[in-house]
Symmetry: C2
Subunit: 302 residues, 2 copies
């Protein structure tokens, strides 16, 4: 397998799926639709829909079923970035080398575009649920939605962001438990959701779904540690956003707690644990690309 | 019927329903949970859950089924107020006589609390859908959710807010079509959703659901016109928030377009049309309280 070629092909086809779910930019409310589509199309690795699809295929699912979920999880991820970049939050003006949504469309429109992306993700999924005629599949879809919004909410992503914002504002010294809470909720939760949803929709066992939750935890925290490492060791050019922002914001990260070498070591362990657990799944399809992707993410420079 | 006594009793029992769905204020993410609960418990008329329940009862439904929807629609209404009050939006510091959420908890937490309320509404409803064992009722619940998030989204509430924010910022002269778009989307959409959801969950006919959508339109626009009238004719004390904010913000409203007398006339017509349509429904239960409530809303001073 030529991993980089595969990655490129898959990303291109994911872009097409996402594009198919963008709202039309028309009507009195056109600006918010433009802001939604701008933020959704501003690049990104499309990791969450990619992982969702890989797992779904590994369990032998039929692709049409997962497409709305792939679009929805990317909308949720994107809305969180749009709100996170706001001046009252992280105050970032650049993301993936482009002006952030509030820089381009103003702060009010960025708040509304974020709200709109979250709400629209729900609409897309409910439309899909109601179009489905098989009650068993409908039930799986509702279960997958439950996992998605639970992981995106106060006991997942929003919970993590809350503690992250507070720790920053107060400049408080966080302990490892707090840092892990933030990394787990803020970053790992949506990765867990991606993997779990792929399995749920394909009808995988509860045992495998639970294993995928663990894989998502290890992978997500390892991914966030890599982010924190890059914030120190990378350049603005490589990263497409300013480096050193954690230090600027007096933010305690896994790296500032464990040191660069310790963080790298833990990150490696978690990433290896994720790959090991992948091998224990009962999926009959290939997980080779997903395992390669996981390794690739841990060695990434951006 | 002693309307005011009935109204008080119903509001008290609605407060209890809403309280039952508040998240526990504990864990690392405690602040966002406090901010959610603060904004949800800061009073309000609880109109949307009240209308939802009245319609549901009129079609003979069993109350347990609608409670999560009552809580969810109030969460959606509340999140829109929290975000609408932000400095980059309407910049309001007072609502219902209390400091707005960003004044009390800071701007970042108000953004997150709004996001959290919207997301949590979805969680509550999906939990209810998955607990339901009757597939026919499950399907109704999904249909009701579809209506709710459609009316709350870019083709409803968020769409209206977008145009409202823009019209204000640009100080542009709006025509009546634009003003009606804003009033319909920003205010009427969630009232339509309340009425429609009550009927959907109780198994009403598509014809009645369509009539309720019209009733919600007339009632919602009339309600918004009354809001605009009060912004001119009321006092801060009566209203619990600053008056004259529309003029301060150079905002074109139905009143500034049609004049006070013309607006009052149109408001009366729409309100009467809503009450007339109520009489055409095939519901077998009493709609007396709802009709009284509609009249009361049009004569309100706050």
């Amino acid at each position: 397998m030529n991993f980089h070629k595969e990655l490129e092909q898959r990303t291109t086809s994911l872009e097409e799926v996402i594009r198919a779910y963008l709202p039309k930019e028309e009507g009195y409310q056109k600006t918010v639709l433009e802001a939604m589509n701008y933020s959704l199309q501003a690049g990104g690795k499309r990791l969450r829909p990619m992982m969702l699809l890989e797992i779904f295929h590994a369990y032998g699912g039929d692709e049409a079923l997962v497409q709305p979920f792939m679009a929805a999880i990317e909308m949720i991820h994107t809305y969180s970035l749009v709100h996170d970049d706001l001046p009252e939050m992280d105050n970032d003006e650049l993301r993936r080398g482009l002006p952030t949504t509030h820089v381009k469309y103003g702060q009010a429109m960025a708040v509304l575009a974020g709200d709109a992306l979250l709400n629209y993700s729900v609409e897309i999924l409910l439309n899909a649920v109601l179009e489905e005629t098989n009650p068993a599949i409908q039930k799986r879809m509702c279960y997958a939605m439950q996992v998605l919004y639970h992981k995106a909410g106060i006991y997942g992503m929003i919970g993590g962001q809350t503690k992250d914002v507070e720790a920053e504002k107060k400049g408080e010294t966080s302990d490892l438990e707090q840092i892990l809470f933030i990394d787990n909720c803020k970053t790992a939760a949506l990765i867990q959701a991606s993997l779990m949803i792929g399995a749920i929709l394909a009808g995988a066992s509860e045992e495998d779904i639970a294993s995928l939750e663990k894989i998502g935890y290890n992978l997500g925290v390892a991914f966030q540690i890599q982010d924190d490492i890059l914030d120190i060791t990378s350049t603005t050019e490589e990263l497409g956003k300013p480096v050193g922002s954690d230090e600027k914001n007096h933010k305690m990260t896994y790296v500032s707690y464990r040191g660069l070498a310790g963080a790298k070591e833990d990150q490696k362990k978690m990433s290896e644990e994720a790959v090991r657990l992948l091998g224990t799944l009962s999926a009959t399809g290939s997980l080779e690309f997903l395992a390669e992707l996981m390794k690739h993410l841990m060695e990434r420079k951006m």
